[in-house]
């Protein structure tokens, strides 16, 4: 299946918000992480990183949000169009892990999810900005 990171950012974020509203912390947390990852990958592609045939970023960028946040900064500052697409210097997802989806939901609470929710919303603001700027 061909990747569409813009669409997947939007749907993961939309579902994450719904789950958050229902206090389904564990899956909301998972989807906020995926939403942020897809959003940043879409922006990095717009800035000019290479992709494989299926539209996913090439080798070194096949990583999840806990590592991608810092990689994004390196890509952004190397591309003239990325100058204004700044993220907070501290990665809010540094304790998020893709394998958390196998953990018990008793490990998740609102405080933990809020940090990731704010990170995903920050990425969403950049996506919206990119749409208004005509980058996407």
């Amino acid at each position: 299946m061909q990747s569409d990171f813009f669409d997947s950012h939007n749907r993961h974020l939309s579902d994450a918000r719904r789950l958050y509203g229902l206090q389904r912390w564990a899956n909301a947390d998972h989807l906020f992480g995926l939403a942020a990852e897809c959003g940043l990958k879409r922006l990095m592609i717009a800035f000019g990183i290479k992709t494989d045939n299926d539209g996913t970023p090439e080798g070194k960028y096949k990583i999840h949000i806990n590592k991608l946040w810092s990689e994004y900064e390196a890509v952004r500052t190397g591309h003239s169009q990325g100058v204004r697409y700044t993220l907070s210097p501290t990665n809010p997802f540094h304790r998020w892990d893709i394998s958390d989806r196998y953990g018990s939901q008793s490990n998740f609470d609102q405080k933990r999810v809020d940090q990731h929710r704010l990170g995903a919303e920050e990425v969403d603001r950049l996506i919206k900005q990119a749409r208004k700027d005509g980058l996407l």
């Binding site: 100058v83 204004r84 700044t86 993220l87 907070s88 208004k132 005509g134 980058l135």
Partner: protein
Amino acid sequence: MVTFDDILPRVTTLLRKHREFVDQLDWLVVNRDLNSRVRLIVPAELEAEDANQSLLEALVREVEVEMAPHGYIAADGVLYESTLADACDGACATQIEEFKNVWFADRLATEGDWSAIADEAPGAARIVFFSIKGGVGRSAALAALALTMAQSGMRVLVLDLDLESPGLSTSLLPEDRQPEFGITDWLVEDLVDNGIIIIESMISTSNLSRDGEIFIVPAHGRNPGEYVSKLARVWMPKVNADGSRENWSKRLQRLIANLETKIRPDVILIDSRAGIDEVAASCVTDLGARLVLLFAIDGSQTWGGYRILFDHWGRSGVVTKIRDRLQVVAAMVPELDRLSYIDGLREGAYNLFSEFLYDEVPPGEPASHYCHFETSDEAGPHYPLIVNWHRGFAGVKTLHGRLVEIDDQELRHIFGSLIDGVMEVTRVERSHE
């Protein structure tokens, strides 16, 4: 064929055609993006309203057809935002005049849009030296003014913001007094929270004045170092730990505020970059200037440049915020046919001011109620202060050397009109304190 200048009139015509739909919206934003393509931004709740969707689609389909190649395909021609503020965030936004609820959001690749006019800064009066063309004697005039103000007992802070063509500091300081760092260094170091370390080492005092003091902050330090690489980074926005973003012009304002706290000057003289440029935009519109001196040489290049700028202020609806701070300076007035040259320059300036910046007085109304001046009215900002051309300043190797030698009479002969005009403004400012 649609080209850039057709975008706004065409889209206005389309909105007029769909007025019934447009009028019922809380707000609508016409968004012109970095590639000069147009999308509409509408309130998010509209996405779920079936009745309005078909009306919106009809409008967007027409935008696609009528604006090509400056539009988007209809399926991708609408963006949704929760609030008008979100829709306009980061853009130069102006209301489209004939609609109460429609805004035009212009996205620019540069941050300086020349139309966000900051209120006058509290504290010392900030006086900006600007010209459309370089080489008109701006730096020499600034140096002469700084010297005169300091001799009258004032503490004068001079900032060289002509970052892309630096040199003012070498005019005011001998080489052995150049500080170690400059504004460019600070703007780079600030990105890594290192600005505070160098701020003490970027201020030098001039030895020209015996009474007051002239503090000079140059564009770069004694050794410019990797100046080109540093200059290419000064425009960077800074992201603070809390995620808040500060654009480069805001960072510059923070620097000036810090310098002002440290030095406590009576006046701040700012040498701006010439032309319609990013740094110049910041100097003229963002720094809260009390007075912006518009240096001019009578000629089509000068007036053509100022015309573009004045026209932009008119279109952006900011004329009343900027016009009171402007003052034309006739630069390098020649010795031959001096009076007719000044008359010609005044006429050229008046034509522009009256076309774009001055109010028209309706018949029967008193002119005193409006911002309106006659050509010969010395109180009008079009009426130029004079800087005479002088062979003593033409082709001098160092302005500093020239200023050390100059006597008061000669200084007044060349710069007297400018000095008196600016001192008057500064006095008014100081008497308000």
